[in-house]
């Protein structure tokens, strides 16, 4: 794994890493990936992947109106709000056709 790989993953994960941390994580992930690569020794041909340990399907319920959190309760924990809304930085630049995403 090289620096570019680490930077690419950090960007996917929306994590800002310092120069020093990029190098440390590069080494640590290298060690951990080397360790987990021993899974390749196992023959799993014809074995179904198991995402959950129990058989579960979708748990549907009827769409009924019922009491839920009030708007004030839902907004109470947010770092920035305005009126009835969560406040965030501008998502769509004026005149842009697509949402801005600098990376």
């Amino acid at each position: 794994m090289d620096r570019k790989d680490v930077e690419g993953i950090a960007s996917l994960a929306r994590l800002e890493l310092s120069e020093e941390e990029i190098e440390r994580i590069r080494l640590e992930l290298g060690d951990i990936l080397h360790y987990v690569s021993k899974l390749k020794e196992l023959d799993t041909g014809g074995v179904e992947p198991m995402p959950y340990p129990i058989d579960i399907g979708n748990a549907f319920r009827a769409g009924r109106v019922a009491p839920a959190l009030t708007r004030a309760e839902a907004l109470a924990g947010a770092p920035k709000t305005e009126g009835l809304f969560f406040r965030v930085p501008r998502v769509i630049e004026p005149g842009a056709e697509h949402g801005s995403n600098p990376r």
Binding site: L15, I32, V36, E48, P53, K80
Partner: protein, 490 residues
Amino acid sequence: MSRPKDLCLLPAHATARLVREGTVKARDVVDSTLERIAAVDSKVGAYLKVDADGARAAADAVDRKRASGKPLGPLAGAAVAVKDNMCTRGLETTAASRILEGWVPPYDCTVVRRIREADGIVVGKTNLDEFAMGSSTENSAFKKTRNPWDLSRVPGGSSGGSAAAVAAGECSVALGSDTGGSIRQPAALTGTVGLKPTYGRVSRFGLIAFGSSLDQIGPIARDVEDAALLLRTVAGHDPADGTSVERDVPDYVAALKQGAKGLRLGIPKEYFPPDLNAEVASAVKGAIARLVEAGATAVEVDLPTSPYSIACYYIVATSEASSNLARYDGVKYGARSAEAKDLYSMYALTRRDGFGPEVRRRIMLGTYALSAGYYDAYYKKGLEVRSLLRREFDAAFEKCDAILSPTSPFPAFKIGEKVDDPLSMYLSDIFTVAVNLAGLPGVSVPCGLSMERLPIGLQVLAPPFGEETMLRVARAHEKLAGTAPEAPGI
């Protein structure tokens, strides 16, 4: 009537009986517990937050309920500590992370609601490794928790605060959560009983998610009866958690009476490797011999994929974590970086400032395992190995009723000893992670002390929804070996 001095040291079942019959008041239990916390928690550091006012008010309400002639619930007056990754209405919940510092949930998680309905008293929120990621509680963003048996050692983790609180008498009983051993391993290291239920047995609604296909909430207690009592209280289907199973909850406390006579105990050689710590091996083998003397039989079973379970776990758990932790984006709750200039920097800087090193490491590993080009080699392969692990357990349980092993490969280690070596820390969970991958129940019970007088844990596993069998074995062992003595470090 004068208050018995050490109410805080009684198990919850004994406390609740005294409160129900009117011998003591719930308020006395809470006052005794708060005094104990005031006396010892500056040394132990089990709690992130003690809710003294809330606990006193809840205790007074239980006492008024009894005075008005209403019957009290099975946890009447018991002081319950709750790991700080479970939401408590009106009480700060942080998962020991800066990113949630100051966050006050607007609702109770289902297990806490059930404890309140059973007349248990929530006394506070306990420390953990940030987002339950760790095996020593050293990854908490806020404080270290020390092992009540030796204050220079870790209590295990990630539910180290809950285990230390139970061992130090700072609560009657506690809740932890277990994704790869986070209830059982700290229980083993603190001389307590820690039970991870079958996946789907207990609602996860309001538990801050780490690995959604692995996480389960369960009890940490000073004896097996308390573990059974707390499990019976919190278990059962919850419409708010689509992965909780619709299945009756047996009376786990009543099951304890049946003993272990006639049960077949599976001993997997893979869980007793030649380089296993000699004191751990000898204590666990002693426990097996005790149970055989009491009428159980020991049979050899094979779990050949076990040596791959840590590798499998760190793929599956980190993949799920990287997805679950995407929600900490600086928008709906918690902190937001003051330096944020635009949308991307709001995310990236908030997450840089809010997450500690181990959480960042796991998000990176999980994101990598799920990313294009690596998904099949890592994540899908991990899920296939997970199937193998489950199949092997299913085959082993054709030959036995329960499986016995050590819980942790070593007793409590020193604070700082493993903190710079993530892989060596991960290997603390070598005997516990396969259970989460396979969705099985497991319990750790004390089975002796090392030469340095540190507790050693016996792990008992059962097939899915086999908690009754597992608890029978645990109780039978406890009858022969006793509970751990009072922790000497405080």
